[in-house]
Symmetry: C2
Subunit: 209 residues, 2 copies
DNA sequence: AGGCCGATGTCAGTCACTGACAAGGAGAGG
DNA sequence: CCTCTCCTTGTCAGTGACTGACATCGGCCT
């Protein structure tokens, strides 16, 4: 009904954000998004594996930029320093995209299903970072922990920046980094030799991670 | 077809794990789970808001135990010490539940949709911990970062323990804690005064958080 | 022209999930 | 013992996400 190939995907993404903002995620059907983009529902699902995914696409660019920065970081930097250096290296990239990210994030934050998907993406990002760190010789465990810890700061900073707006991403990021590091400066607490404390009731279907 | 009230929920959970292990999550319909539990599909959805949720139920117990431990932790403990003390306090609880948790985790790990839901639960747990820390006077930002960081260690330890089996959860947890703390003992790296590094291409639909 | 290919439309079908309404059983009160 | 009520479940009909199979159309290569 409209243009040909490459345009459809982008039109679908735009239409999706618009509609989600107008009627909410649940109040919007995939068919409606497709219609506004000038294609059929089937075409929607050819471009995106599911309705949520239409909002998550730029991730690849971020991953590439971050891993690139990690790869060519000075060899003497520790994992955390490497990570935060990488985060700093993408602040301008993210700041340029604020016009797109802001409305998108509003929709995501307002929709549990989308928030869930976002967590998935963040975890994937964490794993990619952990992999990149391992490429620098960092053992698996510290790499994984550093990646998650770093991502927590980065994600928190980005979130805060998208809401507050002004202080700038770099500022929020720096704040998060300082806060994180200061948390580990307390009494190292000799890790008391395992004193079990609880020993409670049963619990049915299990529940942990 | 079967028993009355309280039993149905549990039967549904058991039937779900069994079937997921036999035919996989995607190869199992909600109706089939219900049938094996001796109820109708509608009843399934009366007990669980969606098909995934049937595997996530014990979380509440964990949250309660952890927050309880945080609440009555010695006032002089810092956020991280408080958290790891809490984690240690629930190890026996988790270890007792291994017979249930193990198969459940296998299913979850094998199913993207379930893994996604699990991340959601873990985030909820993180937020609960952050809240509990704030109750101790810890400011919001450090509370949030500590909670995420701690959860990363806890989750990682639990995962490793469920796979390896033997070393014991406490052991894995202690290892994670040591690793985490040692990561922050490197050169504090004076946080170089913001040197932007990249400034790359555009990117369409945004992608951050 | 002939033929290949990628993007799209069409159709039919499965399954997750929901609202509305009726039925059955257990306990409280008469 | 009867009845009213509450709680749990069954039944039915419907929406919407997602999929597989097949036909079509517009380039592009030869």
């Amino acid at each position: 009904m409209d243009k040909p190939g490459p345009g459809a995907r982008v039109r679908l993404q735009q239409a999706a954000v618009e509609l989600f903002r107008e009627r909410g995620y649940d109040g919007t059907t995939a068919a409606e998004i497709a219609a506004r983009a000038g294609v059929t529902e089937r075409t929607f699902f050819r471009h995106f594996p599911d309705k949520r995914e239409v909002l998550f696409d730029g991730q690849a660019v971020l991953v590439d930029a971050l891993t690139a920065s990690i790869v060519d970081a000075p060899a003497e930097l520790g994992p955390l320093d490497t990570l935060f250096r990488a985060f700093r290296s993408v602040t301008t990239l993210l700041e340029d995209n604020r016009p797109f990210s802001k409305p998108r994030q509003e929709v995501i934050s307002a929709t549990p299903a989308l928030h869930e998907r976002e967590l998935s993406k963040l975890e994937a990002l964490s794993e990619a970072l952990a992999l990149a760190l391992q490429g620098r010789g960092v053992p698996a465990l510290p790499a994984a922990l550093a990646a998650r810890t770093g991502m927590a700061s980065f994600a928190h900073a980005t979130l805060a920046w998208l809401e507050d707006g002004e202080p700038g991403l770099s500022h929020h990021l720096e704040l998060a980094e300082r806060t994180l590091r200061s948390m580990f400066r307390g009494r190292p607490s000799p890790v008391p030799t395992l004193d079990v404390v609880v020993g409670t009731t049963e619990f049915p279907s299990g529940g942990q991670e």
